[in-house]
């Protein structure tokens, strides 16, 4: 069968989501951000909520998320996205409201806003990209940087006595009464991507059921920050990140 006979609209089984814009993403080759952006777009498209969704982008690499998903967006000050989302949702209960935050934004400068939004049980979705490094500023230590991991500000590796321990904020949030769904996923292979997609979909659906905050961590790679090519970075993540940040649902009620 000729390829041109297959390439017909009726035979299309997978393509770019209509909620994604045509802008070329500024992310480095192989960056997990692109996959997670796509999944959020696919969920918005599937639930048909493009006109009811308001996104909040952080400070960090994904500050420009608003260039890629064709929905209304607010860009927050560093770490403050959950405070914005709190007000957006409380003032507009009929809207789907999500934040999209990296580890520095969510687990360092924005720890208070994150904890309290989750503890109040705001009916929002928080998507947390944990790549254990500050990407945008050039690869410095993040709160989630692993012990021994080399970054621009831990050139000899992170040491507990100097830098403290990597923060398992997702485990902390799972303890809070306000969260209804807390999960940790990844996007390095098709099975993982599909699980993350299902998690994001469930989180969005939860936000209309007044169950509390849904929190989806995606353990991710930062090829440039880690200085490891994309395919090897995925392997490094599986070997080094997953033992400390094990995947799976921590809470689902």
């Amino acid at each position: 069968m000729d390829i041109n006979d297959i390439i017909k609209p009726e035979n299309k089984v997978y393509g770019k989501s209509s909620v994604l814009t045509d802008n070329i993403m500024h992310y480095c080759p192989g960056c997990s951000h692109g996959v997670v952006h796509k999944l959020v777009a696919e969920v918005i498209e599937e639930l048909d909520i493009q006109d009811k969704t308001i996104g909040v982008s952080p400070v960090g690499c994904s500050v420009f998320a608003y260039n890629y998903l064709d929905i209304d967006w607010q860009e927050a000050a560093h770490g403050r996205a959950p405070a914005l989302a709190t007000a957006i949702k409380r003032l507009n209960p009929d809207k789907y409201v999500f934040t999209y935050q990296g580890d520095g934004d969510l687990a360092s400068i924005g720890t208070a806003e994150t904890m309290h939004a989750c503890n109040r049980g705001e009916n929002i979705v928080i998507i947390f990209i944990n790549n254990a490094i500050y990407g945008m500023t050039g690869g410095q230590m993040a709160p989630t940087t692993l012990l021994g991991q080399v970054t621009a500000t831990t050139p000899y590796g992170r040491k507990a006595e100097l830098n403290g321990y990597p923060l398992k904020i997702t485990e902390l949030l799972a303890q809070l009464e306000g969260t209804c769904y807390v999960t940790r996923q990844s996007v390095q292979n098709p099975a993982a991507v599909r699980k993350t997609r299902a998690a994001i979909k469930k989180a969005f659906q939860n936000s209309m059921m007044k169950k509390g905050t849904s929190f989806v961590e995606v353990v991710s790679t930062c090829n440039s920050g880690w200085k490891i090519p994309p395919v090897e970075a995925n392997k490094w993540m599986e070997e080094n990140m997953f033992p400390f940040y094990p995947l799976g649902d921590m809470k689902d009620r």
Partner: protein, 353 residues
């Protein structure tokens, strides 16, 4: 009714959509009154106690970006925490109301009244070239009336507005006349007013709206700054508010705002009783500062004295207007001490000698 309580009732009655705050003396009655009144059961107004002033002001950002009439209130140290949010709000051109019931500083300072945040309110506070619209109430009635006025101006110019009160006005009890109430805008009215910029959910019929203050391209950033400055110039042109007391034949002028303008009315009367032609100009808007009205008085004046509850902040703006044409003096008390009319009159006599 207390000035702080008046703020709360004014918010409910003018159709505010949300209040987000954090307790701090001397303004905690604002949120306490709102919580007691439960407006979410009547008008649908959202009231939320946040985990910090930082969160409060960012909740205001989130709400304002949805075209809602949202506000917060705090006092000096809390406003310092909010300055990050204020510059982002100004940079994203979002309308909102922030009430500062000033107390003495610096640092944790005192809970007694002060006007020590004049610089912070009118010259920035946060980083970058931005301005707030700043209203200075001098009575409980002002506290009430300025809430609606501040929202009107904030939405007219898509700019954060501040009511810069002080502990005296916040805690003082006076008779208050309620104004006709305004209902909260319906979602359709919000969309009609704000759909060109606010995050109301993107319909197929328009491009997505993005609320941001980020512009990495220097040309884009400069053009945005030029646009902002044009807006501020328009505000300076059109929105100056002030009142005068016995200035028609005045040879000497006191400039005072907020609670100090009330005390200085007595000083004017004392001077007049002693045959000295003293008048007073009270800036109601601190930004825009009433440059033209003061400038118009300069030719008839022998002196101007700025009287403030700080160590001399507004006096710098008065000097800029005078520009060396008449001597400009200053009298103030700090740290929560409020001067008496006698004390100010003595200082005035010493200055004009």
């Amino acid at each position: 009714m207390k000035g702080n309580e008046a703020i709360a009732y004014a918010a409910i009655n003018c159709g505010a959509d949300g209040y987000f705050g954090y307790p701090i003396t001397p303004q905690s009655e604002v949120m306490e009154t709102l919580m007691k009144e439960k407006p979410w059961e009547t008008t649908g107004m959202v009231v939320l106690q946040a985990e910090s002033e930082t969160a409060s002001i960012n909740m205001v950002y989130g709400g304002a970006a949805c075209g809602k009439k949202v506000m917060t209130s705090s006092s000096s140290p809390g406003i310092s925490l909010m300055c990050e949010g204020l510059t982002y709000l100004a940079g994203a051109e979002l309308p909102c109301l922030v009430v500062n019931v000033m107390r003495g500083g610096p640092g944790l300072g005192t809970i007694q009244p002060s006007q020590g945040d004049y610089f912070q309110a009118t010259k920035g506070g946060g980083h970058g070239d931005y301005r707030l619209i700043v209203l200075a109430p001098a009575s409980v009635q002002d506290m009430y009336d300025f809430v609606d006025l501040a929202f009107e101006l904030a939405f007219k110019y898509r700019n954060p507005a501040m009511i810069l009160a002080d502990g005296v006005i916040g805690q003082m009890m006076e008779k208050l006349e309620f104004r006709p109430t305004k209902p909260r805008r319906t979602p359709e009215e919000v969309r009609a007013q704000c759909d060109s910029w606010a995050t109301l959910g993107k319909p197929k019929t328009r491009e997505r709206n993005v609320i941001t203050s980020l512009a990495l391209d220097p040309v884009v950033m400069e053009n945005f700054n030029i646009k902002l400055q044009k807006k501020y110039a328009e505000i300076e042109e059109k929105e100056v508010r002030y009142s005068t007391y016995k200035t028609e034949d005045a040879e000497h002028l006191i400039v005072a705002f907020g609670c100090m303008s009330r005390i200085c009315e007595n000083v004017v009367d004392m001077a007049r009783e002693n045959g000295i032609k003293l008048g007073m100009l009270r800036p109601i808007t601190l930004f825009p500062f009433p440059k033209k009205p003061i400038d118009a008085l300069v030719p008839q004046l022998k002196s101007i004295m700025s009287v403030e509850l700080n160590s001399g902040q507004m006096v710098e703006d008065v000097r800029l207007v005078s520009n060396g044409r008449v001597p400009v003096g200053f009298y103030g008390r700090q740290g929560g001490v409020v001067p008496t009319p006698d004390e100010i009159y003595e200082a005035f006599l010493k200055f004009i000698k």
